[in-house]
Subunit: 205 residues, 2 copies
């Protein structure tokens, strides 16, 4: 099987949520696997000199409108979260701990459940107890998940994932890299799909 | 006929060029007219607190890549301009003068020719003589165009267009407003088309 799609995201990005809800199907359709990489967009934004979309005048108001309309356009459930954006360290670390100690497939289930909690059910996933509750509903051990997400190696792993993303040119989310080709944004899924099907060549070819 | 599509753009935006090459067909397909509004993105960016895409680390390199790949994906001719971005006051004023003194249809022809000069032929359209040359090739009077683009009323008109755009929430380009609904980016043409066909409702309906 050809190389995986590296999928970089932050749990606080609505466009990353849309991408997360569709990327496994896109990968299956093209005979690929997905490597999920939770990162901290706040760190990325500080490095690049940008900020959350919704923090800018005019652009902020439009963005909330676009999240909602884009969800409807693609038929993805979405409700504007009561608080947004949120810190996502706990959610990201819970996923990383699950991937290492329970398995990649359960970690992806957890990620998708956390995204739905945030963008459908209005859950404040910056709170540890809410993240643990989402994990417990999937059958993960609440005490192990709570201790694990707070452990030094998992904290270090999240820092490393974020630095590795920056080193690979990731400046926003969702961000996909496959066969050395980079795609930023859910609205590049059409180009990503065409690239994987051989219908869109790499730049310079 | 239903209301027009207000189309806001800056001659230095590649995504606005892509939009300009397709928007008349999209409008015809949906029984609409297009009102072309050249604006100065530099002024808009200063107001919003953003900057040209290509001015950010990481995002800048990706953007040049994305311009080229997006053009190929949509089958639009594109060559990376030798200098980019460029000041576009002269090009914008030439279009506004032509719209008022020659006619809207010729002004749209001029706009499309200026975009092609910039993004296909590598012409530095910040230079007055180059803008005049593009106009002359379309049969516009070079002396009248040169004097007209530099006149006080046309300068004032461009300022007013840019302020009007900001007042309507325009924070980037291309930006389309129709029936009170706003769309930012060439990658929202699919949602714009669905909206005009009645397949995508207004937010809150």
């Amino acid at each position: 099987m050809a190389g995986p799609i590296d999928f970089y995201f932050d749990f606080s990005s609505p466009y990353a949520y849309f991408a997360a809800s569709r990327i496994e199907q896109l990968a299956v359709d093209n005979g690929r696997l997905v490597q999920w990489h939770p990162v901290l967009l706040g760190v990325v934004f500080r490095t690049v000199g940008t900020a959350a979309l919704t923090s800018y005048p005019l652009k902020g108001e439009y963005s909330f409108h676009d999240f909602e309309r884009t969800a409807r356009f693609h038929g993805i459930p979405y409700n504007r979260p009561p608080r947004f954006p949120l810190p996502t360290q706990v959610a990201a670390r819970a996923m990383l701990w699950t991937a290492e100690h329970v398995g990649e497939a359960r970690a992806i289930e957890l990620a998708q459940a956390l995204f739905r909690a945030m963008f459908v059910d209005g859950v404040a996933i910056d709170e540890e107890k809410e993240v643990i509750k989402v994990g417990a509903a999937l059958g993960l051990d609440p005490d192990a998940l709570a201790a694990g997400q707070d452990s030094a190696p998992v904290r270090e792993r999240l820092r490393a994932e974020t630095q590795d993303a920056l080193a690979r040119g990731v400046f926003g989310a969702p961000f996909m890299i496959v066969d050395g080709e980079s795609f930023w944004g859910f609205d590049r899924f059409n180009q990503l799909d065409a690239f994987l099907k051989g219908a869109l060549q790499r730049t310079g070819e």
